[in-house]
Symmetry: C2
Subunit: 143 residues, 2 copies
């Protein structure tokens, strides 16, 4: 099948499939006489795996490694477990980070409601975003 059909069968975009091939994540498929990419069912299975892995936001470098193992008929289980553990840690860390930002933004929005459009003058850039706890450190203080 041609790339468009493979794209529909996997939910990937044709441009993304070409990109993965160019990046060495996927082996180049066969070609028709006229030079069109020609995908087999095995190719589509691989594409589908890549889509699934990327939907889990597993980095392309890791996907490449896992796909490489499978192409050499090796079980990628160890690598997969390691990658999943790393990914899990990264995601939890990022969730914590974003929750911190969310809380901080919520605080600033409350502050914005209080401030209204009162303007403290040219002494600051923005009375809403400039945090109380972000005051100018005394760079030239006696010390």
């Amino acid at each position: 099948m041609r790339i468009g059909e493979a794209a529909k069968a996997t939910g990937l975009e044709a441009t993304a499939i070409r990109f993965y091939e160019k990046q060495g994540v996927l082996p180049g498929p066969g070609r028709t006489d006229s030079g069109y990419r020609d995908y087999t069912q095995a190719d589509v299975d691989l594409l589908r795996f890549v889509r699934r892995a990327r939907s889990l936001e597993i980095p392309l470098d890791d996907v490449r490694e896992i796909v490489g193992l499978r192409i050499n008929d090796q079980a990628p289980c160890d690598v997969v477990r390691k990658v999943m553990a790393r990914e899990m840690a990264a995601i939890e860390s990022r969730i914590n980070e974003l929750e911190g930002l969310r809380d901080e933004l919520a605080r600033l929005q409350m502050k914005a409601d209080e401030v209204g459009d009162d303007w403290p003058g040219g002494a600051c850039v923005c009375p809403i975003v400039e945090a109380d706890d972000f005051a100018s450190p005394k760079t030239t203080a006696a010390g």
Copy 2:
């Protein structure tokens, strides 16, 4: 003060400060006779605001807009409120997304524990990541 001192005073890296200037987020500061950037306290205040906004992951385009208003002595309150609302929505959306991924990964890790290193053969790329609910849609089924 020179860029290194401004960097220390704001917590930004000197390279990042140059980058912001190049991107038009910040006005170019004065220069010494020998061509070194020379920052005033007002410059540092602006830098500090940028750092704060970026620590909230507000996109640089928005920071540029807000800084532009301040440079023209206009209150950026409306824009700031709008940007914060958008940022808040983006962050909450991303948190939800990541929580979904986290749950999915947790499920796959449990599956990996069950599977052990049993290998179902060459029929699939990876028995752990290939989801049950991600089975091959019947692209050539009678219809």
